[in-house]
Symmetry: C2
Subunit: 398 residues, 2 copies
């Protein structure tokens, strides 16, 4: 049999998906699914209406970087963070995923390195693997509210091959929200080291007390900044697979256009839906924030009184990375799926912590919960998790 590439062999099976296969084998269980960032919030009706109005004679290709009308609308929407933004600064991509892959590919050659604030969104690993780049993690800590590390700590992670630093804001999985001072310091540091700053802002509209600073606001360093956005979370359309790569670095955008040409254009139908999304009134975003604030409070409120459990208060996004009195979060997650049931036949599906660390020996006492269900369901999910902890055989004395 012909051999596959080393990078293919290196691709980790997603712990989340592995668990999904075990879930599929269970019957008669009422699972609370808080492991995946797939909200049950209805997609706004104008977006669904846009699907109905797409009836061309021929479903034809669109341009590589997106339809002009979509790029213009995205620039107009993002102008609230950067008034200078023009259509040519926006490339439409197949999800935020492709935007990240394009950013990594345009910036890194095989063997180059990307710094990532850790814990981090698991799929950064996959994009780096495809691009042939190496992820180097820089740890953030719950005890410091997951603050961006000092310049000295960042410096210690830089090598000759480092080309960029990527972070999400608000952050997945920590729920941290970074304000202007922090983002500006990180950007200034990146510029001084000759690095790109890749800001994954797909949760930008989901914050609870103070808004995150968008890297788009940073005028002076704009040639170093790449921003990722997506229809998936704010607009509850994960399955639309539509995202944006935004940068005022025109040389970068020219290369992104060429990367886009290689795979032809993103789907015009999804872009029609995005146009409807970008046209929603400001009240929509207020409602989104309130919805997730209520949910996150329901989830963390139920758990924060439980002995041995440490529950950070997320400031944005819709995740919480909680610490549990357990031996091993992957074992615990499997046990929840296969062995634990409440008297009512319920259990919870959680995302084990190690999936969010570069070194899988980290995060063994943590799980990520996603507030993707209605508040009453999340409260019950918290209760079920608390009940499970009482009887889990691998409970540590903590």
């Amino acid at each position: 049999m012909p051999r596959l590439s080393q990078r293919a062999l290196a691709l980790q099976e997603s712990a989340i998906r592995k668990l999904d296969q075990r879930v599929a084998q269970q019957t008669g269980v009422r699972f609370f699914r808080v492991n995946i960032g797939q909200p049950d919030v209805p997609t706004p009706p104008p977006m669904l209406d846009a699907i109905l109005s797409f009836q061309p004679e021929v479903i034809g290709y669109g341009p590589a970087s997106g339809l002009p009308v979509t790029r213009k609308a995205a620039a107009r929407y993002h102008a609230q963070w950067c008034p200078e933004l023009r259509a040519e600064h926006v490339a439409v991509t197949t999800g935020g995923s492709e935007a990240l892959l394009f950013a990594f590919t345009a910036i890194c050659d095989p063997g180059d390195e990307i710094l990532v604030l850790e814990p981090y969104y698991t799929n950064y690993n996959g994009f780096a693997t495809v691009a042939g780049a190496q992820i180097r993690a820089v740890r953030t800590h719950l005890a410091q509210d997951f603050a961006i590390p000092s310049n000295e700590v960042l410096d210690a992670a830089v090598t000759e091959r480092t080309r960029a630093i990527v972070f999400s804001n608000p952050a997945n999985p920590t729920g941290a929200v970074y304000g202007r001072a922090e983002v500006e310091r990180l950007a200034t540091w990146a510029v001084q080291r000759g690095l790109f700053l890749i800001a994954d802002e797909v949760y930008r509209r989901i914050w609870f007390h103070t808004p995150p600073a968008s890297a788009l606001e940073l005028d002076e360093v704009c040639e170093h900044v790449v921003v990722i956005d997506s229809m998936s979370k704010t607009w509850s359309a994960c399955g639309l697979r539509l995202g944006f790569l935004i940068s005022r670095n025109t040389e970068l955008m020219e290369k992104v256009e060429r990367l886009g040409q290689a795979r032809l254009g993103p789907q015009p139908l999804a872009q029609e839906v995005a146009l409807a999304a970008l046209d929603l009134p400001e009240a929509y975003y207020t409602q989104v924030r309130q919805t997730y604030q209520r949910r996150v409070e329901a989830l963390t409120g139920t758990l924060s009184g439980v002995p041995g459990v440490t529950v950070p208060q997320p400031a944005g996004a819709f995740y919480s990375m909680i610490e549990l009195p357990i031996d091993d979060s992957e074992r615990f997650a499997r046990w929840l799926v296969e062995d634990f049931r409440t008297a009512q036949g319920e259990s919870v599906i959680v995302a084990p912590g190690p999936g969010f660390y570069a070194d899988p020996s980290q995060g063994r006492h943590e799980v990520r919960l996603a507030a993707v269900l209605g508040a009453p369901l999340l409260e019950r999910a918290g209760e079920v998790l608390a009940e499970a902890l009482q009887v889990y055989p691998g409970r540590s004395s903590g």
Copy 2:
């Protein structure tokens, strides 16, 4: 300014797209657009109806390798070439483009090489660049009906880093159709050299006299075979961005699943449309073949009597790579767009030959024409091209 990756700098601007920009600057010209493989054949109504019936409450993620129902339907459809095919042998991808990128990435590490029968589909270059792989071209010739080169010629192109050979059948841009004996010889050769055979069969249903052999038919070597399919051409849905990667190599399919997990699942809406497509009656495919045969004959028929013009008779797909009495096909294509007009204000947009060769000094006397318009329009396009050749200042004496 931070520097971009070497591979980004190496990405060629698509000659076809460059020409498009010049086209956009012209006014009052009636262009016959035969440069891009974007048919004007209407998308089958059941596919458009499928769009209308997609109204979920939440537009949610689907599985990484596609919805089970789509994979099953694709396996059932492709079972006419391989009765052993099962859902797990099919991964749904964002266009044939992503299927090619996944194949290249799963098979090649950076620096590895892929052989390609030349002239070839330009975008193979882009996928190889993203994957960090090198394209090595093996020439086929019009005088030999673009036959697959002998084993000796193939051997001469193999190095220690060669990992796969990719070809399209029916072929873009040559219109060649390879039968069972040829495909089997190529596959046997690939197996002996430890290579994967990547068969790009997106034009499989478009043939005029004898059908191509699908690499799916080759039972004994099936672990070496990867087949690419797509909704774009046969089903006239280029903009749907839906394709398939098919292989009975289960180790490869497992890695493709992981590559898919990194970018989350392909769009469920597009998969609903694909289900409608795969459910079309056999009569649909007969009609598609007849349509393109008529078109290709209209295009080549008009041109084959023109002095100095060599017009191969395509056996499938909908392209013809014709030889013209000109100094340089890129200059000729620009001149057609910017300077030449018939008395009725018409001109033609063609794809210059060098875009289909690894070495851009090749193909300078060739252009690719795509039979993507109705037969009467293609006849007129041929007449316009013939008229243009009479007055082109760079006409060679031939």
